[in-house]
Every structure is written in C-alpha cells, then in structure tokens.
Amino acid sequence: MSHPLRRQRYLIDFTLASLWRRRGKNLGLLGVYGLIVFLLASVMLFSQALRREAGLLLEGAPAVTLQRLLAGRHDLIPGDYLTRIGRLRGVSDQYGRLWGYFYDPAVRANYTLMVPRDREVAQGEVLIGAGIARTRGLGPGDVLSLRSAGGTAFAFRVAEVLAAEAELVSADLMLVGEGDFRTFFGIPAGMYTDLALEVRNPREVRTVAEKLVTLLPDTRPILREEILRTYDALFQWRQGIVFVLLAGSLLAFVIFAWDRASGLSAEERREIGILKAIGWETGDVLRMKFWEGALVSLAAFLLGYLAAYAHVFLADAALFAPVLKGWAVLYPQFRLVPYVDGLQVATLFFFTVFPYTVATLIPIWRAATTDPDAVMRG
C-alpha cells in the first residue's frame, strides 16, 4: 500500500477508536440515521418499481376508451355508436366492453365484474381473481352467491381462479358470461359500459380521438397515454404521505448536521490541541474528522439502502401494505421486479452523506488551525 493510503488508514484507525469510546451513543446515532435512510429508500425503490411495472403492464390497455357522459356523469353507451363511428382510418378494431362494480356486504369488498372477450364463460360460472379467492376462501367448484340489481340471489360457480402472478391487475376481478352480466346488473341488450378502439399507429391516436369527439359529442375518449400518465404520477413526492415522509427525513438530516456543526466541547478542543502538539498537521486533523463524518454517514446509507432493497424486493414491501391498503378489504399480493433508478439513488446518497460530513468538519476548522501551544498552557 502506498504511503498516502497508509496514512489515511491510520487516521481512520484513530477516528474509529475515538468513536468507539462512546459506542452506545454512536451506534444509536448510526441506527437512527440508517432507519431514516431505510424509510426514504424504501419509498423511493417501491414507487419507482411500481411505476415502471405499471408502465410496462398497461402498454396492453386499449388505445382509446370511449365513455358516454350524461349530465357530466358516466352513463351506459349504446352499441349502435359503433356503427355511427363506422370505419375510421387507422382503427384496427372496435368493440363494446361490459364491466362494472359490485359491493359485497358479506366481506365489505368491492369487486370488478367483467365480460371477457377472449373466452366464453358458461352460464352460471365465474372466473375469480386470486384476491377474491383469498378473502372469501373460495376455490374451483365453490359457489359464490351475490345479490343482483333486481334483488334476487345469483349463484355463481367458480370455474377457475386467475393466476396469482397476475394479482396486481386482477385481484378483484370476476369474469362472467355476457348473458349473466346483463341479467345480474339489469343492463338491456345493446348497451355497453364503454367502447374500446385499437389503433395501429400510436401517432394517429389523437386524430382518432378528435374525430370521435366531433362524431359523438356526448362522449369522452380516454387515451392510453393518459392512462400511462396517471400511473406515472403515483406516489409522487408532492403527494400527502410521501411529502410528509420526505419533509420529516429532511428535517432529521438537518438536525443531525446541526448537532454536529454546533461546536466542539472543551474536551474535543483539547484533544485536537494534543494531536497537533504531538506532531499531527492541520491537514491530518481535518482529514481525520472528515473520515469520522464520511464513514458514519456512508455506513448509515449502506445499511438503510440495503435494508430497503431487501424490504421492497424480497419482503414485498411488507411495511407499506397497511398504508397502501387503506380501507380496502381486497389488496393484491404482488412481487415487484427489481428496478433501481441511478439518479434517485445518487440523490439519496448525496443528501445522506454530504451534509453530515461537511457538518462534522465545520466546527473543527477553527480548532484545527490554531497553534498547538495553547495545549502547553494547561
């Protein structure tokens, strides 16, 4: 090892031995510091990964969804709007969608009922999402009894439980046949919840939407890019809980730094005098203090970040589940694909390490540069 590295190692030796003298206090500081980093990093990693996952998944959403508005509220849309649309340039497919909500008082959960396009569901049968299966303890072959719009009880037999890996999008889904759906909700034939259109070329979507609005003035098109943008705004730092967390953490960092910067005790001053008197240069004293701040904050950062990574990607963000669940009864169990945004990690690193290290150095400056003969004076 070359000379300057060896010297730094010796300075680190002293700084760590010095910290170890008050090991309770310093370990406690490290723990609290690490905890704050853990919270911040957990939120950061979780929201980044979830946003990215949403972005990837919802690429498969319909290009344009057409809703009909009646007095500003979402109403059913007639099927012959499809004929009125006719054949628009660029639209490769258009179809009516049937879906709706059902509140189940037995478990106080909301289900989303849907008629699937890709398969035929036999009458009286239902395919349920893994969340419903879990909450109501249902498996294939069991019967689910729901109260329809007309007041009668509908018995659905569970044909299949949807894949558990797809819970993030399907936890509360119930797929039923069209006939059952219309009878259950009392929706007349020829009416749909909304219409969906597939557009081949993404750049033509807006033009299609504009044409639709002109053709059908009482409708509201929702574009896929709006869907994606909605989910891109999830957990943004301006939002309630996240903002409070950020503000709190920032305050904590400020308090740590201020505590460090607010001056030396007489003991510390004396020790610096001794070090200078026995032959340490000003530079050595400053570097030794720098290592103190840098090593503690680096350790806190690594502890917090690694714990957060394990928490979010190995433990499925277990601590956040109650917050996200809110008042809902059905909550999807999902595992996120690990994703790290370098810029955000770098920002976190910067805010964790830099202010604390600088704050440790500030009060030392004056003491480190005074002549050591003050030590001689007693």
Binding site: M1, L5, I12, D13, A17, W20, A54, L56, L58, E59, G60, A61, T65, Q67, L69, R73, H74, R97, Y101, N110, D118, G129, A163, E165, A166, L168, V169, S170, L173, L175, R220, E225, E226, I227, R229, Y231, A233, L234, Q236, Q239, G240, V242, L295, L298, A299, L302, L303, Y305, L306, G326, W327, A328, V329, Y331, P332, V337, P338, Y339, V340, V345
Partner: protein, 118 residues
Amino acid sequence: MTSDPEKTFGSTGPGAPAGGRVPRPSTWPLALLGLGLVLFLGTLGHAAWRGRQPAAAPGAQRELVARLGLSDLALFTEARYTRHLSQADLHSAFQDHPMALDHFPSASLVPPTPISGR
C-alpha cells in the same frame, strides 16, 4: 473512499515481542463497509439484469392485460373511483356533496388524473 477493502488484516513485523498481533480498530469496520459497497453494486447489477428480462417476469400479467383490455392496476379497491383511476369521471370525487373532499387514504398517494390538453 480511498481505503482498500482487500487489505483486511494488519501484519505483525518480524521482530514483534511477546503479545502477538494487535487488531487495528479499522479492520472490521472497513471490511464491513467494503462488503456493503459490494452488495450495493450487486443490487444495481441485480436490478439491471432483472430489468433486461421484461418478457419473462410479468408474462402472465401482460397477457391478461392485453387479452382483457384492462386499463388499471387493482391497487386501490376501496371505491369505484379509486379502483379505476384512469376511467373515473371528473365528478366521481364529489359523489356525496360538493364539499366532500377525498376521504380515502389512497387519495394521499395519488394525484388527480392529468387531462391531456383539450
């Protein structure tokens, strides 16, 4: 950081009198920090590697989304307008009365749906 995580243990000189090796205070902490840094880089690598397989991981989910034409994640199932964030009409939050501000906890996590300039 200039410390070398590879050098973990101090050496004892040839003429060391009785007493043997003196442990340096910095040995274990630096080794642990080195390990931490390695793990940190490992997480970056892990995430990059997993990210490179988008088809593999959410395979079942992507298929379902495409086949059923789903438009929202099933994250907030408390109410209709929290369940389908992108489909909620502009008045949903005021279902009860005009002064009924969001009263679900998820409202503090999700901002109002952005509307493309129209």
